[in-house]
Symmetry: C2
Subunit: 228 residues, 2 copies
DNA sequence: ATGGTTCATATTGTCAACAAAATTCGGGAT
DNA sequence: ATCCCGAATTTTGTTGACAATATGAACCAT
């Protein structure tokens, strides 16, 4: 995982690298402090982050590569705005990529530790579903998907998924899951978990694709206020 | 050494932007003029391209985002080296992404013009196969895949595919296709073309996935000298 | 008011100089 | 010879100044 110094947060022990700066700006974007369409002024950022303009500039390039901002000539960086259609287009890519991850996870002979982690996550999601703890479930859900991608062992797939997943975090979801969608979501998880543990790639991919597709359908029916 | 700068693809008489610079360096990488693992020295590039170091630097960030180079702290930019395993990992992602593109192309009601283009490309590939014109077939093959992605109308899928396709161009293939693989490749194309024109998403995706998978198998069996 | 023009300001684009770090090279000891 | 150490050189990191462009305000004519 991450390592070394880093020193996240507001302070900085070592001098911040452009990657660090990018991370700071990124958190500002997903948290909504920087609104979509907003123009990011270099001189403002230098004041806030206490770094020179060239670092901000390189950080912009990094973020543009990740798709979080758009750089337009002589006008600088704009926080990228994603329409509902955009989210759905990404959703389709996410469907096949996460499907592939599930397939590869099922193809791989998992270690006992990995199998245990998967079972544990599933059990905790079941518990959260039972107790209707939406917030907890949401966190576990993310960890679950991340675990499967990790088990798939394909860094490129992981990177591509990250790219189409980040914009979702920017949505302002009042309560990510309703009781009904939560139950449906976890039903999908149980199928996927079973298929992966059984070493059934075909079934795992199909189940994951159906699961993500169902999530996309939910996204499609969200009210406009959610998209910002 | 290379000639002058100025007038790149979208050629305007203006001074080169960092994106233009990135394009120049990129062509140097895919052409093999810059070998994998090679360190790109900023001052060398400034001499060749006649631009300041800051532009080179931002170009590096762009290329790092596209996965062509790796930036390591205090050591600058290295041309990224892709092992056979890397290519195969990307190949799997490419399989599902191009499969999705084929599916979406089949879902979309294509215009007469689009249907014509597809048929034309297929006809010309058939002719090239007949005449065993490998070089021509290779060019048409690329145009064909590009057209399908275009027809799919999903810019995010297009972008992701581009990312896992570029490293393939860096391989030194003496003659991309042998007679046998060419025939197998075009057989796949005919299936895909038929499915898309028939508006059969399921079949189109399946055919494309099989097609890409078969190409990956070919990649897997290439001799080491091809990877550089 | 409305629309358009000019000028002042704000912001980005670029470069060149300097600082910090890494690499290379040579010398000396074993 | 081989290894290690340290200076000289190369290369990257960072800053600040200046130029080019865009933005916004004030002004004028209708």
């Amino acid at each position: 995982m991450l390592a070394e110094d880093e020193e996240i947060g507001s302070g900085q022990g070592r001098t911040a690298t452009p990657a660090d700066v990018a991370e700071q700006i990124k958190s500002g974007i997903v948290s909504g402090r920087f609104a979509p369409g907003q123009r990011l002024i270099e001189s403002d950022l230098t004041g806030d982050l206490k770094v020179g303009r060239s670092k901000i500039r390189e950080a912009f390039r990094i973020l543009a590569g990740e798709g979080l901002i758009e750089i337009v000539a002589n006008r600088g960086a704009l926080v990228r705005r994603h329409s509902r259609e955009d989210l759905l287009s990404m959703g389709r890519a996410r469907e096949v990529l996460e499907g592939l991850a599930a397939r590869m996870a099922a193809e791989t002979p998992l270690s006992d530790d990995q199998r245990g982690r998967l079972r544990d996550l599933q059990a905790r999601m079941d518990a959260a579903e039972e107790a209707n703890e939406i917030r907890t479930y949401d966190t576990l859900n993310q960890a679950y998907h991340r675990a499967i991608v990790e088990f798939a062992g394909n860094p490129y797939v992981a990177e591509l998924i990250e790219k189409v997943r980040v914009p979702l975090l920017g949505l302002r979801l009042p309560n990510g899951f309703s009781a009904a969608t939560l139950e449906q979501s976890n039903e999908g998880h149980r199928f996927i978990t079973h298929a992966i543990l059984a070493g059934a790639p075909e079934a795992a991919e199909a189940a994951m694709r159906a699961h993500v597709r169902s999530g996309n359908a939910t996204t499609a029916s969200l009210p406009d206020e959610v998209f910002r």
